[in-house]
Symmetry: C2
Subunit: 212 residues, 2 copies
């Protein structure tokens, strides 16, 4: 029997099969995806696929794990651990944007998860915990005067993450804006140090007048 | 034959059936929803349902029409038509947040639309047109000095809408924050009038130092 040369088929491992699964989940939706769709997209037999992973939930778990892992790893980085609270908050926001851009498709899946299965509930829990850590950091920055005292830290963090999460809807790597420009603009908008106000702010003059 | 008293069943019309459909689409997902699910949720027979609407796509179209209609109507309001560009921009952003909170479930459906059908493509087109009108308004505000010149109006609008669109993910009517507080906070974050900078800004002092 003739043997197929090894070079004809790419050598898949769990990581590259997860890449394929992410693309198929994104195109078809997770619920509508069956293992045979993933096998076909990877150009392997279904039994080869099952040799690597138990089911599509495992592949979703690995995809969500990338997004969750990239985000939570940020909190252990030196820039998130040391220095003034305001700097740490800014660092974590910038790195969150970078992680979301790096794992755009995985984050997009994470944001759509509803908690239907155990792995989805795990991912939702991790996402909530990450958000809580950011709220604590924002509150710390507020005490240090690096974030205005009239902001609610929990509302602030939801809005900051709302901006960065929106990237999954409109960011294209070959698009108009660089990752750096997007991060700079978001930080420019959400940077709100505490200031002493000398007069009641009006609609547009609030920040200008209030900070003289 | 005994007649069922009229009071036993609520009198449905197309609007109230759309309400039911929105709830079912939200819970099940649009693709997984069948007309019989909507009929059961409304406690009417399938033939009664078909007496009012042709198919589930018509119900989706009506739901999306509410969201799109509420948004595009804003642009014709006096506050969006007259006065300085900066005020008009702020007005439209505030009213967008209010409309999204008023039609939270419908907007949530609108944001998930992928353009698989004619009505979905129509809704995507309308959403894109609305965004373009906001970009034009932001550019006008920039010319008038009400928005900092270093912001890219198209990026700015995507980020502002990213924040307000995130409401569909986390806002609860009985929650911690009022609609007013949310709108005030978003406007507080995105208000960035042009200023003359007298020194190179540092990380946190940028806005304080730059606007003295």
């Amino acid at each position: 029997m003739a043997r197929i040369p090894k070079t004809v088929r790419p050598a898949y491992d769990v990581e590259s099969l997860t890449d394929v699964a992410v693309a198929v989940f994104t195109a078809r939706g997770y619920d509508a995806t069956r293992m045979e769709h993933i096998a076909r997209a990877a150009n392997v037999s279904k039994s080869s696929l099952y040799h690597h992973v138990a089911n599509k939930e495992e592949l979703l778990g690995r995809a969500l794990g990338r997004a969750v892992g990239a985000l939570t790893a940020i909190l252990d980085e030196p820039g998130a651990q040391g220095g003034p609270a305001g700097h740490r908050l800014e660092y974590v926001i910038r790195r969150t944007i970078e992680a979301e851009l790096r794992y755009l498709a995985e984050v997009s899946l994470l944001l759509r998860v509803r908690g239907n299965t155990e792995v989805e509930r795990w991912a939702l829990d991790e996402r909530r915990r990450y958000q809580e850590r950011l709220v604590a950091l924002a509150a710390e920055a507020q005490v240090a005067g690096a974030l205005a005292g009239d902001l609610d830290p929990a509302l602030y963090v939801r809005l900051v993450l709302g901006m960065s999460n929106s990237l999954v809807d409109w960011y294209r790597p070959d698009g108009t804006w660089s990752a750096r420009q997007i991060a700079d603009t978001i930080l420019d908008l959400v940077r709100r140090p505490a200031v002493r106000r000398r007069q009641k702010p009006t609609v547009w003059s609030a920040k200008v007048a209030g900070r003289v």
